[in-house]
């Protein structure tokens, strides 16, 4: 290999900062921003000893899209479409977090039917998000086929949701005070059919993938996370539940009509990648349960409170926490009484989960790092915002 002197290296400041003088016998490796398991444009700088990771530092910001700055330039309703683009995999949860925060701020009562529709579409979206994660994680582990099956199921959800929202991915279906439009007539029927279909597929996934020896070898005991570390890093969602904490915003701070449904929060105590994997797969069933209950008791009525396009909430601030597919989403909105928010802060669950990576990856092998990275379920635009 060529010898080089860091002091003469041009350009990338992050690399130079990461390189502490002489690195004999060690190798500095840049993973990403273009890397198949970077899930977008994450970059991780690694110091390797052979294949063992001595030090890892994620470099983020490659997809920083100024959402918080844009919020201050737009009116409350105009900012809504941005929510579909923060976390495109679980856009509905972000929709809900923002709409909910603004509703709290102005004190709008959301009609019952809208609440139920919100629950159904959010849970459908959660399933689709978990399916993408499942496929992508196995792709990271080198199994090429499951992702095809996952996307096959996901397309069924997208069919339902595009009939409802008119969009496949970056939904902006919620409005302040309800949802944008009523669901089509066959919505309930299609949801029930889909739940049935997914339930029939889950045993196959378990037999073919979850119980696979190689997969277990790659997941079990990898990236073990204790509750205390998770708490200090602010990990939420399946990452936290994989460490055995029964914490879910849908239960702890019930929003919408979640307190009317019976559902189980899956938790596993191992805290490794496999536990996180199982939590997510079990959550598919939880979501199915909720969808079934919500669809069967969908009330009639209006789907949106009457809200002006441009309105001025009272001064003050409000936060709304929502359980997203990746964890606790919080939107803090602060109003100065004008038509535009004074400050909007988006709390992305992936941001906190990602900051765990450096801790978890230390001392593992390169392949384990890929497995850990996948098990955290990262959506980079959500982290960078």
């Amino acid at each position: 290999m060529q010898t080089f002197d860091p002091s003469t290296m041009r350009g990338d400041i992050s690399s130079i900062r990461f390189e502490p003088g002489s690195t004999q016998d060690k190798m500095i490796l840049n993973m990403g921003p273009q890397h198949p398991s970077a899930h977008g444009v994450l970059r991780i700088m690694l110091e390797l000893d052979g294949e063992y990771i001595i030090r890892a530092e994620p470099v983020i910001g490659y997809i920083h899209r100024m959402h918080e700055w844009i919020a201050e330039q737009k009116t409350y309703l105009q900012f809504m479409p941005n929510m579909g683009r923060v976390d495109y995999l679980h856009a509905m949860a972000w929709n809900w977090a923002y709409a909910g925060a603004v509703e709290r701020l102005v004190g709008i009562q959301v009609p019952e039917r809208a609440e139920y529709i919100r629950v159904v579409v959010t849970e459908l979206n959660r399933i689709s998000s978990h399916l993408v994660w499942w496929g992508a994680y196995l792709l990271d582990l080198g199994a090429f086929t499951p992702v095809m099956y996952a996307f096959d199921d996901r397309e069924q959800i997208l069919d339902i949701l595009q009939a409802v929202t008119g969009s496949r991915l970056t939904y902006s279906y919620f409005t302040i005070g309800g949802v944008y439009e009523d669901v089509p007539a066959d919505f309930s029927k299609r949801c029930t059919e889909f739940v049935k279909r997914l339930r029939s597929r889950l045993p196959m996934y378990r037999d073919l993938v979850t119980d696979n020896m190689i997969l277990r070898g790659r997941c079990e005991g990898i990236g073990e996370l204790s509750v205390d570390v998770a708490r200090r890093y602010g990990a939420t969602g399946p990452v936290l539940r994989g460490s055995g904490v029964d914490s879910d915003t849908r239960k702890s701070e019930p929003y919408g009509v979640y307190n009317r449904f019976e559902f189980r929060i899956p938790t596993y105590t191992e805290g490794d990648a496999m536990a996180r994997y199982r939590v997510r797969l079990d959550e598919l069933e939880t979501s199915c349960d909720i969808i079934e209950q919500a669809v069967s008791s969908l009330p009639e009525g209006p789907v949106s409170a009457k809200v002006a396009r441009v309105f001025k909430p009272p001064k003050g601030e409000a936060s709304m926490a929502v359980e997203g597919a990746r964890g606790k989403i919080i939107v803090h909105v602060r109003s100065d009484g004008g038509p535009k928010p004074y400050r909007v802060k988006l709390r992305a669950p992936g941001f906190s989960n990602m900051s765990l990576f450096a801790e978890l990856a230390r001392g593992t092998m390169l392949s384990d790092a890929v497995s850990i990275l996948g098990s955290l379920d990262l959506v980079i635009p959500e982290i960078d915002r």
């Binding site: 190689i214 997969l215 070898g217 092998m365 392949s367």
Partner: protein
């Protein structure tokens, strides 16, 4: 006609004819295998796969090959230019030699010798040198990691592979593939796969590992090492690695078919068809594996070899020696 037979009778001419045939076979087979692999993958994944480029996408590999030939060849500035370009050639060259002792047809033996198996094993072992050179010459960290993995993996799996091969060779009492094939019969219960299933299993696992195919495709693990040892190769440099991979697959499948599945022996059909059928069944199996399993981790891979396969292969070898010994006493 007579002149042709006379020409055939000359050993050098036979070898040349064989080599020409084999080159055509490797090239053609590479194209077919790429298509088969994609179609099998598509079938496993429940999608059509290549469909519109030629009937059922049959011309797809041809288009890929011509496109690869037409691509710009990039040499890394900081790399070792000579090693960098020697590597793909070195990956491909031993492949042709390995086809020489392959028993395609009982009546036609281009190079009669009693060391065919050793020739194949020796030259297929060369393949790892090319991966090593590719990783080093690219001056790319991913490539280097890939090369390091390739060497460790190759060393680990040569051992059980050789032991399982030797178990069969001892039973057959020869290192000539033709003799080993003749030692078996046309029916499955006369094959070594039935007589010594453990060796067959060990050989198959090692064969997949030696050809760097999933679930043992660590040197080029896509999601970990970008493209591993061939990260820096563009155009035909990559194409040669690609072709060599498929040719290596055919070689291991050919050896497996000859050692364990009775080679060209079979009822009714001419031997060459039986042999090809057996080769392609094994290839299908290898492809099937790839699209089903996740990748193992590096230390697990080595553990499988050193902790399981090697002791098992040793045991199997010892058994084979005892059995062969008793038989010779009788």
């Amino acid at each position: 006609m007579n002149a042709f037979l006379l020409f055939i009778a000359h050993p050098a001419a036979r070898i040349i004819l064989w080599l020409v045939l084999m080159f055509a076979f490797i090239g053609f087979n590479g194209l077919i295998l790429v298509w088969v692999e994609r179609k099998v993958a598509a079938y496993v994944q429940r999608r059509p796969g290549p469909l519109h480029v030629g009937p059922q996408g049959l011309l797809q590999p041809l288009a890929d090959a011509i496109k690869l030939m037409g691509k710009q060849l990039v040499t890394p500035v900081a790399g070792d230019k000579m090693l960098f370009w020697a590597a793909p050639l070195l990956a491909f060259a031993p492949v042709t030699v390995c086809f020489l002792p392959m028993p395609f047809e009982g009546r036609f033996n281009p190079l009669p010798m009693n060391l065919g198996l050793v020739l194949i094993l020796a030259f297929s072992g060369l393949g790892v040198v090319s991966l090593c050179l590719a990783g080093w010459g690219s001056n790319n960290k991913w490539s280097l990691l890939g090369a390091a993995r390739a060497v460790a993996q190759s060393v680990a799996y040569e051992v059980p592979l050789l032991l399982s091969v030797m178990a069969v060779a001892i039973c057959a009492g020869s290192l000539d593939l033709y003799a080993i094939v003749r030692h078996q019969g046309a029916w499955p219960w006369q094959w070594y796969a039935m007589k010594n299933p453990l060796a067959f299993f060990i050989f198959l696992v090692c064969a997949v590992a030696e050809t760097n195919r999933a679930p043992f495709d660590l040197p080029e693990a896509e999601s970990e090492l970008t493209a591993g040892f061939h990260t820096e190769y563009s155009g035909m440099g990559f194409g040669l690695f690609f072709l060599a991979e498929y040719a290596n697959m055919v070689i291991v499948a050919g050896v497996a078919a000859a050692l364990f599945l009775g080679g060209f022996q079979g009822p009714l059909l001419p031997g060459v068809w039986w042999y090809l059928l057996k080769i392609y069944s094994i290839l299908f199996f290898i492809i099937w594996l790839r699209w089903t399993f996740p990748r193992v981790r590096f230390d697990q891979l080595l553990n499988i070899s050193w902790k399981w396969l090697t002791p098992l292969a040793l045991l199997d070898f010892a058994l084979a020696v005892v059995v062969a010994g008793f038989r010779s006493i009788k």
